[in-house]
Amino acid sequence: MGKVDRKDGVVRLPLVNPANTPVRDPLGDEAMVDPAVVRLAVLDDLLNLGRANSLWPLTFGLACCAIEMMAAGASKYDMDRFGAGVFRPSARQADVMILAGTISKKMSPVIRQLWDQMPSPKWAIAMGGCTIDGGPFKYPNQYAIEEGADKIVPVDIYIPGCPPRPEALIAGILQLKEKVKAGRRFEG
């Protein structure tokens, strides 16, 4: 039977299923899971472990938060400790898009295009108030900015702050790591 670990809200299937018995899907009521799927889950867990520890961000700064993103990659904070310090300039080689800064209406199609250029599985981190809901630039009838990154790309982690400190970004990356390890992600 699938062990349900509700502590962190993550549902984990057992890594081994020696009897090849059908496993009850802990999420569904009566749905059964094919044993083959469970065996594949072992591989999936391994791959997820790899993905979680190798989140290469796209070199992509929008505004103020980009400087804190750079600071997080620099000596004092060093995102590379968690394997997330390999900033890739090409979207084709990046895993996580850190949306660092205000998204203007002029920029939003570009961001969407970059997101589409990234190979899946991919994740997005909304860094800073602007990418959460417009932040300090939000006011009625604001014409220039996109109020929230989630209007453009599916966002996995929101990091509040204006700008968030590098520690906050690292905390966000660690959160994302947990999320990836658990195998949860948006499709597409």
Partner: protein, 376 residues
């Protein structure tokens, strides 16, 4: 020593093609987009496309009171946020004729100059990063972190400071702040020597910078290029000297200039400006008076009187002007932010013409632009 501009024979063979750099490009400093027309690797035409981080600061200024706009000010140019924040305060003080206490004047100068150093250090790092030297970037960030820590201890933020208040500053500084600033400047002087050995004397850097991207006096004049980029062309124009504000006339500092107008000159000017900022901070610390940090008598509401006003200050990138029109209410009728990088970048098409693709990076990196400041 003057360096003649590097001669490149204009190539006329082969087809033109267009290369689009940005808005997402590792060395476009955020979201600048350059549409380059190239022949081989030589640039025939360069067209900067800006506005990718237009955040409607000016519209917001017309829609909220002068006080409410205060947090916006440091977000215009986040690298010299303190200078912009204090500059905006000083503009309103000038309009409302508010007298700033001496202690606040000194604190402001320390904070602004620390911020200027941090901005120059960040430029130093990213410029080297653009040229492919990755390590100096991390060293300069290391030094910059110390400034951020010092400013953090008194302002509570690392980047987008909101430290100024109309009439003074938010919080008083303590002795520890002053001691840390003094210690940092001492350290920075030794670090500058190391940078000179490691970076400035490096033969590859010199090859990449000398004679590259010459902005002549005439070009600078026509585009109103200001700041270190102008001073590198041999014009000793610094708003802090030309129209002293915020007590800068009480202190002794020089305006460093270079003659050649190339990227190397801009490099030298900025490094020498760091030294001048150190001097300013030392003087301000040495002569720090006791007293209040906010004036005793303050207007109840900050109403912008009818009429138009102009205030200029020197940011890390050049002449930052605030043009404000009031109509008697506390919401400005109009606020124009004259930002230095806007003008500096507008000179780029002329400067880039005829250079190599790799020089583009060195030149655009060398004038030190901050995109949200250009786009506002």
């Amino acid at each position: 020593m003057t360096n003649p501009p590097r001669e490149l024979s204009p190539s006329t063979e082969g087809e033109l093609y267009t290369l689009n750099m940005g808005p997402q490009h590792p060395s476009m400093h955020g979201v600048l987009r350059l549409v380059l027309q190239l022949r081989g690797e030589q640039i025939v035409n360069a067209k900067p496309v800006i506005g990718y981080s237009h955040r409607a600061h000016e519209k917001m200024a017309e829609n909220r009171s002068a006080l409410q706009f205060l947090p916006n000010s440091s977000r215009i140019d986040y690298l010299s946020g303190m200078i912009y924040n204090l500059g905006y305060c000083q503009a309103v003080e000038k309009i409302l004729q508010i007298e700033v206490p001496d202690r606040a004047v000194h604190i402001r100068i320390i904070a602004a100059e620390l911020n200027r150093i941090s901005s120059h250090l960040l430029w130093f790092g990213t410029f080297l990063l653009d040229l492919g030297g990755i390590t100096p970037f991390l060293y300069s960030f290391d030094d910059r972190e110390q400034i951020l820590d010092i400013l953090d201890s008194v302002t509570g933020s690392r980047l987008t400071y909101c430290y100024g208040r109309f009439g003074g500053v938010t919080r008083d500084v303590d002795d520890e702040f002053l001691e840390r600033s003094t210690a940092f400047i001492k350290l920075l002087r030794t670090r500058l020597l190391m940078y000179k050995r490691l970076v400035t004397d490096n033969v590859i850097l010199r090859e990449r910078c000398i004679g590259v991207g010459v902005i002549s006096k005439d070009t600078a004049f026509r585009f109103d290029v200001t700041g270190p980029s102008l001073r590198a062309s041999g014009v000793a124009y610094d708003v802090r000297k030309a129209e002293p504000y915020g007590g800068y006339d009480r202190f002794d500092f020089e305006v460093p200039t270079e003659e050649d107008g190339d990227t190397m000159s801009r490099f030298h000017v900025r490094i020498r400006e760091i030294e001048q900022s150190c001097r300013l901070i030392e003087q301000a610390i040495a002569s720090m008076p006791e007293g209040d940090i906010l004036p005793k008598k303050m207007p109840k509401r900050f109403q912008i009187p009818k009429g138009e006003f102009y205030f200029a200050c020197e940011s890390a990138r050049g002449h930052f002007g605030i043009y404000m029109v009031g109509d008697g209410s506390d919401i400005p009728f109009k606020m124009k932010l004259r930002t230095p990088s806007f003008s500096n970048l507008s000179a780029m098409p002329e400067t880039l013409r005829g250079t190599m693709l790799a020089d583009t990076i060195a030149i655009v990196g060398g004038i030190d632009i901050v995109m949200p400041e250009i786009d506002r």
